[in-house]
Symmetry: C2
Subunit: 381 residues, 2 copies
Amino acid sequence: MNNAYHLNINATDGAARTGILRTPRGDIRTPAFMPVGTAATVKAMKPATVRQTGADIILGNTYHLMLRPTAERIHNLGGLHKFMDWDRPILTDSGGFQVMSLAQLRKITEEGVSFRSHIDGSKHLLTPERSMEIQKLLGADIIMAFDECTPYPATKAETDKSMRLSMRWAKRSYEAFENIDLPTAKSSAIFGIVQGGVYRDLREESLKSLTDIPFDGYAIGGLAVGEGQDVMFEVLDFTMPHMPTDKPRYLMGVGKPDDIVGAVARGIDMFDCVLPTRSGRNAQAFTRRGTVNLKNARHQDDPRPLDDQCACNACQRYSRAYLSHLIRSGEILGAMLLTEHNLQYYQDLMSGLRNAIEQQKLSNFINDFHKLREVGDIPPL
Amino acid sequence: MNNAYHLNINATDGAARTGILRTPRGDIRTPAFMPVGTAATVKAMKPATVRQTGADIILGNTYHLMLRPTAERIHNLGGLHKFMDWDRPILTDSGGFQVMSLAQLRKITEEGVSFRSHIDGSKHLLTPERSMEIQKLLGADIIMAFDECTPYPATKAETDKSMRLSMRWAKRSYEAFENIDLPTAKSSAIFGIVQGGVYRDLREESLKSLTDIPFDGYAIGGLAVGEGQDVMFEVLDFTMPHMPTDKPRYLMGVGKPDDIVGAVARGIDMFDCVLPTRSGRNAQAFTRRGTVNLKNARHQDDPRPLDDQCACNACQRYSRAYLSHLIRSGEILGAMLLTEHNLQYYQDLMSGLRNAIEQQKLSNFINDFHKLREVGDIPPL
């Protein structure tokens, strides 16, 4: 536990809430979206531009960083913040999810996960203790407990077994977090992760065993893995009422704009997702009128901006025709501009949600959000 | 000819000269380096960042733009400046060089060059008249006459024949330039291109027939094609004394930093080259101490900047270790930062040359330039 972290709730609207998560490296306005900076960079973005879009915090991936350039190297170079030139908060995941989706020859035991690197085949062992050490070496502000991401779909018995392992690892994570003393990690906080798949009693049991530990925040893991939005919202509906109200609540790996809107309405405070950045490198733009595929030939001669309500560089200075040209030509600037636009869209969405909650007008906001998306993109000229 | 273009020479030092080329879209400090913006973007750079490095003018490639997105499309969208958000001067090449190096099934006749696109195999014909039309459709500030880039090596007879064709095309280019009336090209100037390979009498003859035409500037073409620096300088040594002194002199496609230094000393005013941008995407950095390959393992733990005298973002905010990590991870930010650094290096070099000429200290500058490069990169820690 870290007493320097405080969640100040400024307003609520139904289950939704808005406020400020105070941290030693700066305030995080909640609900917050964290751009993903996997390998010590938010892909195709300078940190100053990430900040300009409105991001208060970014996420780093333990699995990628432990393999390359390694946590020890980053530590020796003064920590992840200095390394990547981002002086505001960073949350690192535990590596638990990505070791299951990316690593080779992985084997789970009570101790942890042994695996081979997808980059060079080298052998590694990731345990709760090692994950905490890595995250502290990186100098993360918010450290995530090490867990097993339950595969989806999974039977109740499989989910139960996996959740119990994660809960034992959560306890070991917390102990290791408290015991590892590194100067770069003086300001770290630690979040626990609720597992239990789509099963109500397992979620409740997981949450109960986690709240016995004084974590600084609680995440919901194991969602957005293919279960669909209905099931995800159902899990939130039966899980959120049991979540502590005085600690931040983080829905991991979510999500699409309408996932985020629905989850905020259900009381989530923090999100991360690769969608805006990855889509930006794949010609897909998020707009107030839904997603726009810039590979579509209709944009080639269109002098209008992508989204005339957006303040990003791509929308303020360029036409759809130009963005379309960059993408057709495989130009790096296309990835840069669309990533910037998508991150701006996500931050604008969060800011809109925060204002709506503040003014007790969340349901109006959500209605307008869905209505404009149903209208769809501007018609061709 | 365009009377709005004036070259004001402020100082000379030996054959070298420095001044301002005044154009309707802004002043160009000479000697000038023009970053290459092939497909309506300086690769991996926002235009504002290109400008921040000190670039007064950039270059666009007629061959690429005529194929994609097409000159007509750019014209309909308001011209190249608006399309790519660069409001300062743009020089476009004629397409003559790139049609020979990139296009398929090309065939040269007196009329021009017929070829198939390397992108989609479509058939095209590029003539002096069509090249002028394309460059005017793009809205280029400085338009280059259409020429044949003589292959290297070439016999004297081949070079002679090729040069004479280019001279006939130069005349047709000038006539077409004067006759094509497009509102987007009201502020255009046109440069002729001296050919003649490595042969003194052919260069002199080419220059003589070109100076009969009132071009706004004169370029030296057909160099930096494999002849080596000694031969290139030799050609400059016997060509430059015959070049008009009141018009800008542009050495096309050059070059490496020491090529530029030697050519400035011989009286060249303008340069363009893909080296800083292309190298930036290939882990190669230009520094005051020579080129640095960031793939080299020695940089992985090095907390020092690439070049401690450089004001660019990469050098001011990041370590060699971080740049090395980005490159090893194939991150777009690596290409962005190294491109920015390399362009900054080139602009700093030009600024250093201009100041040295202004102060009549060019030979000192050149000695220091070579001395520091001989010392080489900083030793490993």
